[in-house]
Amino acid sequence: MNTIEVPALARVEGEGGLYIGLQNGKVVEIRLDIYEPPRFFEGFLVGRYLQDVPDITARICGICPVAYQMSSVTALEKALDLEVSPQVYALRRLMYCAEYIESHALHIYLLQAPDLLGQPSALDLAAVAPQVVKDALRMKKIGNEILKAIGGRSVHPVNVCVGGFYRWPELAPLKKLLPELEWALEAAKGTVRWSVTLPYPQLDQDYDFVAIHHPDEYGVINGEVWSSKGSHLSVAEYETRYLEEHVQRSNALHGHTKDGGNYLVGPLSRLNLNHAQLLPEAQKALDENGITLPITNPYKSLVARAVEMVHFYAEAIALIKAYEPTVPAHLDLKLKAGEGAGASEAPRGLLYHRYRIDEQGRVQFAKIVPPTAQNLPRIEQDLFALAPQIVALPQEQATLTAEHLVRSYDPCISCATHFLKLKIENKE
C-alpha cells in the first residue's frame, strides 16, 4: 500500500478529500484537500447595515445557521454596548438547544454511526435496523420543529436581529412540542447507553481543549474562553491567544495558539471543561454509564454529543415551560461607531466573530473564525498519530478508519473555506 486516498469525503458538510502518502510503511505525506470554493463573506459584509449581518452570516452554513446568527448579534450588540433582556437571552438559548438537537442527531446517527456499525449510510442502516433510524429522525425532527416555531424555518430562520428578536414567538406551538421533547429526552438517555457500547478505534491524544465556559450554565453563548492548559480569557481577548495564520506551503489559514500549539474545539472540549454545568439528567447519564472525563479519544466525541443531547433536550423543556415574555422582543438601537467581539459554541465548536461599525451602523470590518478552521491542524495531527496503526490494515479498512476520524470531528467544510488544498509534509 502506497497511498490512502479518499477523493471525496462522504457524510461531511461541504466538500473535501483526504490523501495520506506512505513510503516503506512510513507516512510521508498527509493532505486534507478542501475544494470547497471560497465565498468571501468577510468581504461582502463590509458596507452592509448591521441588521443584514445575521441574515448573511447564516448563509455560511446551512447546518449551523443559528450559531452564525448568535455570534453575529452578540458581537454587534457588544459594539453598540447593548445588553439584551434575560428573556431574549433565554429564547436565544432555546434556539441554540434546537440547533444542537438537530445537528447532533444528524451527526450521531446519519453521519458517524454508519462508520461504527459498518454501513455506508443511514439509509443502508435503515434496511437492517429500521427502528434505530426512525427514532433518530424523530429525535432530529424535534430540533427543527422548535426552530420553526421560533424562527419560521429550521435552515436560515428569520426571527433573529441585533437587539433581540423581530417578535416573540407564540407559546402554543412551542408548548405543543413538550410531549415529544419528553419522549426525546428518554430516547437521548438511550443514545448515551448505546454510545458507550460502540467499537471505537483506539486513539488517545493530549489535547488543548478550548471552549466557552460559564460558571452557572453549560457554556454556549455567554462566558469566557477557557483552555484545559489553564488559559482563561474574555471573548474580547480571544485574539491574544488564538491566531489564524496563512502558513507557507499550505495555502491555508491555520488556527493555532500564540505559542504555536494546536487546539481542539467542539463537543469533547465542552464536555471536558464544562461537565460541572450539565443539567442533572445529563450528569446522571455520565454517572450511570461510567463515563470518565476527560475523554481524549476523538472518535468518542460521539459519546460527548450524546450526553449533550440529554442536556439540551432537558434544557429545552425547562426553557419552554418558563417561556412567558413580558418585555419588548427587541431593544431600540442607538447607533454609534464601535467594535465588538462575540463567540458562541456551534455544535462543532467555538465560533468567533468580530465587527467594527461606523456611526450609521454599517460594517467597516468583519472577522469570522469558524470551528473547523481551528480544528484543522488538530485533525492533521490526529491523522499522523493514527497512521502507524492503520498502515498495516487492508486498504479499504485503513481508508475507512482515516475517513471516520475526519468525520468524527463533524467538520463543516462549507464554513471553513479559509483553507484550501492543505498540504502537510513529514518533516522527519
Binding site: 469525503l9 441574515d55 455560511i60 495555502n251
Partner: protein, 278 residues
C-alpha cells in the same frame, strides 16, 4: 405526500454540491417523516452528504445545489449535465448565484485580498453564476433555503409522469392567505413581498419584518413600482436597494431594480399612498 410511482423501475437520483452552504441538501435530510419512503421510491445513487456509496451514472434525476464560482466548477457542471437526464437547479445559489454573487457587484480580487493573506493561491471566477448560465437546466427551484416540500412535490411528479404543481404567486399573496397584517401598510416597513416568488409561506412578514427576497423574482411582478413605493420608506440609507442586493442579487430583475433603488435613494419621491417621505 404519496410517493406512488408510474415508472417501470426506480429512477436513479444524484445530488451534487457546488458553491453553497449545504442548507438545501440538508432540507432533503430534514424530510424526517418522508425520508425513508423517499429512499425506497428512488435509487439514491450519488449523495455524498448522506452516503459513501457512489453508483455510476447516467442518472435519471440530477439535483444540483450551489452556484458556479471556480474554473473547476465550470468544468464539473458540464460533466454533471451529461450524466443527468433531468437536471434540477436547487435553491437560490443554483438558480441565481446566491449570496456569494454579491461579488458580481464589486471587485472579487479586492474581496480576496480582504479575506486571505495570499489571494494568489486561490482559484475563483470573477462572478458567481447560476447553473442555467452554464448548462441547460430542466427545472429551477428557488429558495434560500428551498421549501423541502417543493422538492418532494417535484420528485413525486417525476415518479408519476406529471408536471409539478408550482403556484406562481408572490409572497404578498401568501400573507393574504395567512391573514398576516401587511407590514408595509400597517407599519411602514419596506418589504419585497409584492415581487418575490412565493414558497416560504411569507415567513418574514409573519415575524414582523419585510421580505428580503430568498425565493427570487415572481414572474408576475412589477419591480419598478415596488422600488418607487418602498425606497421612500427606507429606515436607513439605501434599505430597499440592499434588500434587493441580497440573497437573490444576481437574478436579472433584482439587478435592474437594485440599480433603480440606488438612484432613487439619492432623490426621495412621494410614496405609493401619496404621503410625503420622512
Amino acid at each position: 405526500m404519496v410517493l406512488t410511482s408510474k415508472q417501470p423501475q426506480k429512477p436513479k437520483v444524484a445530488v451534487y454540491k457546488f458553491s453553497s452552504c449545504d442548507g438545501c441538501q440538508l432540507s432533503l435530510l430534514n424530510l424526517e417523516d418522508e425520508l425513508l419512503d423517499l429512499a425506497a421510491a428512488v435509487d439514491i445513487s450519488y449523495f455524498l452528504e448522506a452516503t459513501r456509496t457512489v453508483k455510476p451514472g447516467p442518472y435519471d434525476i440530477g439535483i444540483v445545489e450551489g452556484s458556479i464560482t471556480t474554473p473547476h466548477e465550470a468544468e464539473r457542471i458540464k460533466d454533471v449535465r451529461q450524466d443527468c437526464k433531468y437536471l434540477i437547479a436547487l435553491g437560490t445559489c443554483a438558480t441565481a448565484g446566491g449570496i456569494q454573487a454579491l461579488r458580481n457587484f464589486a471587485s472579487v480580487n479586492e474581496y480576496a485580498r480582504t479575506v486571505y493573506a495570499h489571494p494568489e493561491y486561490l482559484e475563483y471566477l470573477e462572478k458567481s453564476t447560476s447553473i442555467a448560465e452554464n448548462v441547460p437546466v430542466d427545472l429551477v427551484i428557488w429558495g434560500c433555503p428551498i421549501n423541502k416540500y417543493t422538492l418532494l412535490e417535484v420528485i413525486a411528479a417525476q415518479l408519476q409522469n406529471r408536471r409539478p404543481n408550482f403556484p406562481p404567486s408572490p409572497v404578498c399573496l401568501e400573507c393574504k392567505r395567512n391573514g398576516t397584517v401587511c407590514v408595509v401598510v400597517a407599519r411602514g416597513i419596506p418589504c419585497l413581498g409584492p415581487v418575490v416568488h412565493g414558497g416560504c409561506g411569507a415567513l418574514c412578514p409573519a415575524n414582523g419584518r419585510g421580505c428580503y427576497g430568498c425565493f427570487g423574482p415572481s414572474s408576475v411582478a412589477n419591480f419598478s413600482a415596488l422600488v418607487e413605493g418602498m425606497a421612500p420608506r427606507d429606515r436607513y440609507p439605501q434599505e430597499t436597494a440592499y434588500l434587493l442586493r441580497g440573497i437573490s442579487c444576481h437574478a436579472p430583475a433584482f439587478r435592474t431594480a437594485a440599480e433603480q433603488a440606488l438612484k432613487l435613494s439619492a432623490k426621495p419621491v412621494p410614496d405609493l399612498w401619496g404621503k410625503e417621505p420622512k
